[in-house]
Amino acid sequence: MRRIFKFSNVKVMVGAAIAGTKEGEGPLSANFDVIEHDAYFGQKSWELAEGELQSQTASLALQKASLNSEDVDIVICGDLEDQCFASSKGAMRSASSMLGIYGACSTMSEALLVSSMAISGGFAKRVMSLTSSHFCAAEKQFRFPLEYGAQRPQTSQWTVTASGAIILEHGEEENGVYITRGMIGKPIEMGITDANNMSAAMAPAAKDTICEFLKLSGESPENYDLILTGDLGKEGSRLMKELATEEGVDLSGVHNDCGLMIYDTERQDVHSGGSGCGCSASVVASHILNEMKSGRLKRILYVATGALLSATSALQGQPITGIAHLVEMEVR
């Protein structure tokens, strides 16, 4: 059964984001804590590079919060690499205990949901949600070698090289940004098999989670400053809004998408927009938290979307299952 989880006392302590060169050339450049121009992050392989990226982001978040690794009860982390290799490398330096999760590009909202449950349920005092993606590691695993000469279809998305970390803590009455409610996504498969159009597979899941949440909570889109999806890009955002309109929900004035925000889609040649676990994570952990802390955004829904395919399932022509997890964030 779909249900809304109501969280109490889940406060956002700090966010940290590290991004690569291309992301650093995008519109959110000034918001990232660090822009790293070495795509290898000083490592020998793309897989290790992503691990290092995630590790540095986690350390940075601890440093910004003036904490050491023992002060955080759980690190909940994920990425796109096989068996979440980057996370197991990335959490090494900063986790006293670790939960690895996989939700493709929806991993950050999934991590925030599980983190909020742990804090709200009284099982942890501080939890870090941490995800990453790396363009080169993702290309190697899901598509072609980097130097292979192939054209990308217009519906394809560009995997973001970035990582975002958010430390949540048990907070009582202090002012700040709180995670107030959440909803776990339903896996939805609508027959889309094209791995170059993953956002078409994710759009129905995003529509479902948003519309179900609004229906069950009795809220309307106007009650929010922003309904932020993660990585639907141009294609998926259009489809999602059209599907919502069919159900009588107009999201046009209030919706934006992390995959559209992180790049200048006209200038940066990313076709439909950005994607990857690190995309919405780095956008929310930097730009969105800054906007909330400065009061420009007061109440938002963050709905990261994931395309649950593997390199093998894509080769077998299996339809892609989409998922979207939601968290409600509020300034108090």
């Binding site: 292979y148 000469g149 054209q151 609508m190 027959g191 159009n197 759009a203």
Partner: protein, 146 residues
């Protein structure tokens, strides 16, 4: 919208590649690569190499250039605009072998470079060989009669 309708709708309304522009660029670049090959052929004939040697040296030269431009990171940049124009000529074949060799260097010389080198070109070799066998059989049985 049910599943079938959605699938069709998503496909129908998806952003399309500029096919005409892609074809024109593919034609020009692919043609350009072939002209370079022809120039080498003429050059080798001019310096006095025999026909057999020329037909061996031209592919060797073009494969070398395809590999070189892949390593320099330029082939992929050209291919982004040229598409089939850079895939079809023999330089594209070189690119499809050299690019995984670079990518899988980190997995070692045996299971990385050695095993993965043909991950893209493998099917071309397999089905190219198969097609040549079929052609050979047809030629063997009916070649004399034609």
């Amino acid at each position: 919208m049910d599943k079938n309708e959605y699938k069709k709708y998503a496909k129908k309304t998806a952003a399309k590649s500029p096919v005409l522009k892609d074809c024109v660029i593919a034609f020009l670049v692919g043609g350009g690569i072939c002209c370079i090959g022809q120039a080498f052929s003429s050059l080798y004939s001019y310096v006095g190499l025999g026909d057999d040697t020329v037909t061996t040296f031209v592919p060797i030269t073009m494969i070398f250039l395809g590999g070189l431009f892949t390593v320099l990171g330029l082939y992929e940049k050209l291919a982004k605009y040229a598409g089939a124009g850079t895939i079809i000529p023999i330089t594209g074949f070189a690119n499809s072998i050299v690019s995984p060799a670079i990518e899988y260097k980190t997995e070692g010389l045996i299971l990385g470079v050695g095993a993965k080198m043909f991950v893209i070109a493998g099917p071309v070799i397999v089905y190219g060989t198969l097609a040549s066998v079929i052609y050979g059989l047809i030629y063997y049985f009916f070649g004399g009669a034609v």
